[in-house]
Symmetry: C2
Subunit: 333 residues, 2 copies
DNA sequence: CTGAAAGCGCTTACAG
DNA sequence: CTGAAAGCGCTTACAG
């Protein structure tokens, strides 16, 4: 601690305050000291012990249910952890006063958050505790303090839409997730780009935001299929939405893919088990989980991440939910 | 430490030596000091921290993928753990020489195994390490050394079959999981009991074992629907099998439920998102996970479990995949 | 074998 | 917002 104080040009007392997250330190001083602490891999005395004996423990947090999407990423995290000798604790995001420090005390060395929203306050608390964070599939635009792992959503949206265009569809709708989610934006812009490149129309009514849920699929498809000129194909923002679309079509007596083509996104196990099996854009969720785990481990060791944001390639998987559109006359219902 | 020194009538330095196990202390002095240390619950500084805050850690192991079934039980485990201040590590079953002892050294206090097979050798290794085990949805018949949590599978099989019978079906097939799995046996016998009570035939060809997978549904339904007298309803051993059945029906141009009724088992999220939404037997997976966690915690504290085997109630959930059979003539295809 | 004394790494009440 | 100073809990080299 004396070394760090000297390097930072402050007293040992001030360094101590930074370590303990006390308020009475100037932000600039705090930042400088924290940087040095990190460089020197300083660990508060209470934590030194655990460090020595335990294998690094990574905390995985997710919000909402443990959906297929999260479960499959988690499989990748667990497999990589087993391989690399790390332990994975799975927990809920806590909002207790010093949650990040509590996590460190409980032996965690990094946090992986799956599709979570992190505010500046959270990031500050993590920084105070010296606990690195990796976000899998970030909902926000990458913040410079956050390492993240994602997929090429724009390219995926492009590929899905081109596939439908190549089958002959021109009235294609996009039924997506939350407007603010960057992955959703990228998918939607991929869709728009493909449509524009083909000179296909994108009426406002054909681009609908929602949630990444089955209910959004159910409701959105009802709206879309009720339009005067209903789409002949729907590109859903994820597989769950796509399943809702398929069910709405079935309930209306429309067959997929004969009467309506549907494309999903993610390629969770849901897609293979859908009826009909779903054409979708595969996200390599296990690999993404593995990448997140490896990044978390690097950061836990005090190394820099190789890259601030890693993006893995998506891939179109054609199954049975897409086909050429019916003739124009029969497409009008 | 000063207190203890005074109580023992020695100097702080001597107490420190005892704590650190150094050699240069008279045996009698050492004994006296150690006694006092114990009385005062003295903990060396390095251990103080972890000991104080570290919550009991439970290891959850599962085999194969993190399917919906496991994911939903895991949600229950995590929620209860958060509530009770325990941590959940999720790992893979290891078969290293002293795996159970390694788990104990890594801080685990109990193991929850989801749908896993445990051999006598495993139980011995666990017993040697003093690590209690709770099995969720045991595949074996309950062993007296194993605590387990399950559901009323027989009653569920009975309810599912009675539902189909009450709709007017008489040719009902059971397409289940592995023959040796006790949960599968119980479901199947529930089915048989309901059929017999109604005086309905159960031809051998109408009871098929398999795996708890989509593929079993696909293949089994192909066989069943190819029979001379195909069933008008299929009771599937779990939701995944049911989805395979629905897809096989769709691919053959049969509509569910008009041409074929399908019932699943589990009521995972798959069931709600199926097309049509699946009539199924609900297992309270979250509650089962919670029960397993609480049992594991009791055992970790050295208490006896309240009961050797806990069984939670199943419940029929009627959705859109079941309907009365078509007239006999049209049922022949 | 024991303990007085020096010292280490850290924290904190308080003066500026 | 900062740091000098006092202090805490502990360890250790060394004199006895």
């Amino acid at each position: 601690m004396a070394d760090i104080a000297q390097a930072a040009g402050v007293s040992v007392a001030t360094v101590s305050k930074v370590v303990n997250g006390r308020g009475d330190v100037a932000p600039r001083t705090r930042a400088r000291v924290q940087e040095l602490l990190h460089q020197h891999r300083y660990l508060a005395p209470v934590f030194r012990h655990t460090e020595a004996i335990e294998s690094p423990t990574i905390e995985v947090q997710f919000k909402g249910g443990l959906k297929s999407y999260v479960a499959e990423a988690l499989e990748g995290i667990i497999d990589s952890a087993a391989e690399l000798g790390a332990s994975v604790v799975i927990g809920q995001a806590s909002r207790a006063p010093h949650w990040a420090r509590d996590l460190v005390s409980a032996g965690r060395r990094a946090v992986i958050a799956v599709t979570s929203v992190y505010t500046t306050a959270h990031l500050n608390e993590l920084a105070r505790a010296g606990l690195p964070l990796v976000v899998l599939d970030p909902l926000h635009l990458p913040d410079s303090r956050v390492n993240s792992v994602g997929a090429t959503n724009f390219a995926g949206g492009l590929a899905a839409t081109r596939h439908l265009l190549s089958l002959g569809h021109r009235r294609i709708a996009y039924l997506g997730g939350p407007t603010m989610a960057v992955c959703n934006q990228a998918r939607m812009h991929g869709y728009r780009a493909a449509m524009e490149a083909e000179g296909a129309q994108v009426p406002d009514a054909c681009v609908r935001p929602g949630e990444f849920t089955y209910e959004t699929g159910l409701l959105g498809a009802t709206e879309l299929l009720g339009l005067q000129e209903p789409p002949t194909a729907i590109f859903a923002g994820n597989d769950e939405i796509a399943l809702g679309v398929i069910e709405t079509a079935r309930a209306r007596g429309l067959r997929v893919p004969e009467d309506l083509s549907v494309v999903g996104f993610d390629d969770t196990s849901l897609a293979q088990m859908a009826s009909p099996p779903l054409t979708t854009v595969r996200q390599p969720l296990r690999e993404m989980g593995g990448a997140a785990l490896r990044t978390a481990l690097r950061l836990a060791r005090g190394e820099k991440a190789e890259s601030h944001h890693i993006e893995l390639a998506t891939e179109l998987v054609v199954r049975a939910s897409t086909a050429p559109p019916r003739e124009e006359t029969s497409a009008h219902r």
